[in-house]
Symmetry: C2
Subunit: 516 residues, 2 copies
Amino acid sequence: MQELKSYLMGSFQSGEAEGTQELFDPSTGEVVATTSTQGLDLAGAVAFAREKGGPALRAMTFAERGAMLKAMSKVLYEKRDELLAISARNAGTTRSDGKYDVDGATGTLAYYASLGKKLGDRRYLVEGEGEQLTRSARFWGVHVKQPIRGVAVHINAFNFPAWGFAEKAAVALLAGVPVITKPATDTAWLTYECIRLIVEANILPEGALQLLCGEPGDLLSHLGPQDALAFTGSARTGALLRGGEAVVHRSTRVNVEADSLNAAVVGPDIEVGSPTWQMLVRDMAKEITQKTGQKCTATRRIFVPSDKLDALKDALAEELDLIKYGHPDSEGVRMGPLASKRQQKDCEDGIAELKADGAEVAYQFAGEPIDGHAEGAFFPSTLLIHRAPKDAKLVHEREVFGPVSTLMPYETIEDAIELVGRGEGGLVASAYTNDRAVYAALIEGLGPWSGRLLLGSKKVADQAIPIGMVLPSCIHGGPGRAGGGEELGGERGLDFYLQRTAVQGDRALLSKTLGF
Amino acid sequence: MQELKSYLMGSFQSGEAEGTQELFDPSTGEVVATTSTQGLDLAGAVAFAREKGGPALRAMTFAERGAMLKAMSKVLYEKRDELLAISARNAGTTRSDGKYDVDGATGTLAYYASLGKKLGDRRYLVEGEGEQLTRSARFWGVHVKQPIRGVAVHINAFNFPAWGFAEKAAVALLAGVPVITKPATDTAWLTYECIRLIVEANILPEGALQLLCGEPGDLLSHLGPQDALAFTGSARTGALLRGGEAVVHRSTRVNVEADSLNAAVVGPDIEVGSPTWQMLVRDMAKEITQKTGQKCTATRRIFVPSDKLDALKDALAEELDLIKYGHPDSEGVRMGPLASKRQQKDCEDGIAELKADGAEVAYQFAGEPIDGHAEGAFFPSTLLIHRAPKDAKLVHEREVFGPVSTLMPYETIEDAIELVGRGEGGLVASAYTNDRAVYAALIEGLGPWSGRLLLGSKKVADQAIPIGMVLPSCIHGGPGRAGGGEELGGERGLDFYLQRTAVQGDRALLSKTLGF
């Protein structure tokens, strides 16, 4: 039995026994690890980050911080197989789904390592050369972005224990801000192992990276005006954090990345069987089944011209039939279980709610999971149809966080855009068209509701990334229901951890001091 | 008696009589205007903005929106004298203080008009030319910033009824987002008159600009995921808005610009009587008395090397003695009353609280206000000293929003920086030094706590702007206690009203559609 400790104030620490929580193998229901955070000194951890980690990181240049990220990426990559094994054991991932998480982590760290190298020898950012502010050529203004003086608290979701930790930590550390990372308890083993490897490799200055492995306790009550809180998870918890004391009364920065009802729109011009159609079918099948549908970016609502609804349903059913589910170690399995029995129950409930809202089950993978187990959290891929999406309510509001999407017909492209908007904001939307007018209409219509927009068309039919893939160079986050946040996006992501200040004074002195 | 109506859904409307509030002349206590918003259809106003104003603004190019702002600036400038008279009557401003507000409004509108011209013929923004996202040169990503599809609600403070309205409206309208502006009731007459002039000149499309003249009623309950709420005022109200249903649960964008304990630091190298010293004394006297100290950006805490504390006190007392207060229309008056009896009471209470915290009154303008009135909200300029700022608490927390600042001694520059930080974030800090090492230390030390930093030195001693002056080209807002927000800053300010979307697809199609 693996005990997961928290890494706080320079050492691995166990919480009190009575606060112990168990982690399971979702394929078998077997307990694989335990953790407790009860009684840990979280005020001490916050102070340690501020007093040790912050000054150490701020004394480093971007290039030095980048080199540190590179070393983190390397140490994780070297232990890739061990990490994939833990992922399979504690998160039920197939090798391919585990790689999506683990390689996402090392890749994002490596990306920000390169950015650090590019930003070079400076310790903070200066926006351009500034400008003259009055009639005098001597009185000058320039905007400077310096790391906030507090700690970045990262609260992550259960679905990406490696990437979720790494994508947030990479950006904060590169900005010069120390991190306390808190994975979701159910799948925390993988995050724990990542941190253990990084600590063992002695890459980071003291206090730069701490791990709280399980329940957050009173962590947030210690945050103040120079701290930042980044969260990925449910809209409900997101609202709780955003409405909390630190954010509301002490202006703690907050970024929320929440569940959303991501949509796909099939353009009216896409012919059944064409290359773009084939791209669409592949994409949708992947969105439904990859990570057993447990991605914040997974497509939940598919809008298709009404005369092609049945053709798409049939094509998807055929594709989904090829993706067998079961124990991730077993031969032929392409989709593992959900991450927990709780998620399994939530999927069952969600489908029942959508049916009560007027949806019907159009397809469900037939047959039992390969090498399944009665205590496993397996769930068959499921395609719903709602034939009257304008009358529907829950289908635009209730995310079923598993291998489940809903097909819906539309009549005009304006209708489709309006229906996407009913989701009230998503992390990503996708659309398929080769018609330039439709292409432009979709960018304008879907953009304001989406943090990211993937446009499929024939010339990229074999070259696009999967819809759900989050690249470090593009922003991640979306308006409204998706939380209203923004992460990554290359250098853009640093802004969350930097205070921008308009500095006004003698041009010559500013120029010498700031190096512009 | 002037009745102030609200301008909603295309017409000027009166609220119900029983909700009537009175506005006063703070020099005499006389009632000068009334307003009521009771019973007005605010859900209708929000819908009108979204359905009429938004589409009309989005159909315009930046250049067209800029031309609209230019016309707004012009119509206000043409009626400058009438506006200054209203300001004197309802806000008690001297001509100079009135101009600070009114010319700030026309200037900011004109600045954003020029920016619109520069941004030209496009309707939304594209960040650069994007980048290749995969091994394929065809699959491309670019970040697009489009106006949010909702309404911008602007809740302004009583101290800048013209500028406060204009600086927020200019940015939202240029971004392509319709505005509902709500001035503080006490001084709403000037905002009302600005809107009346703009409406009469028929400059804006229907629904682009609405006015709610008084109490906000249930306005905020109608906001959702595509709306934005920008607030200037007290930290308490800011927290209320930020913790509200729309922001917390529907991801309504929010920007808070709140009271703060803005600090000034006198460098250890500044000799008494030197040009930089003279700049300091002039600046401090202006910050204390301009707009009777009722600026969010006014300097409240002045940190001075302990051996120069008395010299600065004496120099400031001499300067403040020259600034006579009284009725703004009277000869020789350089400082008007506070904006209301409530503010007068708050200043009295605030000074009592700071005295209980260990401050003493080092100077107070002697003598009665010129042409004063028993019902007037006059208040003499006041300088406090707190000799043990490390032991003080309230002096770093309680803003006395009037002609009141506190002098405090410090020993080392590190101490001074630490003391500034105790204010937990300010809109602006200032510092005076000609020592390059101190200059650099102050930028790094004060920057993270400040939205803006004005550095005084000998070569800009006669060329700098007043500390409290907010230029549209520089960001305005600050961390922590100052609300954690950011406004203006030239093009930077538009971001609050734009949804940034990472658009991924065929490079050629994207390039043709978006014009990069």
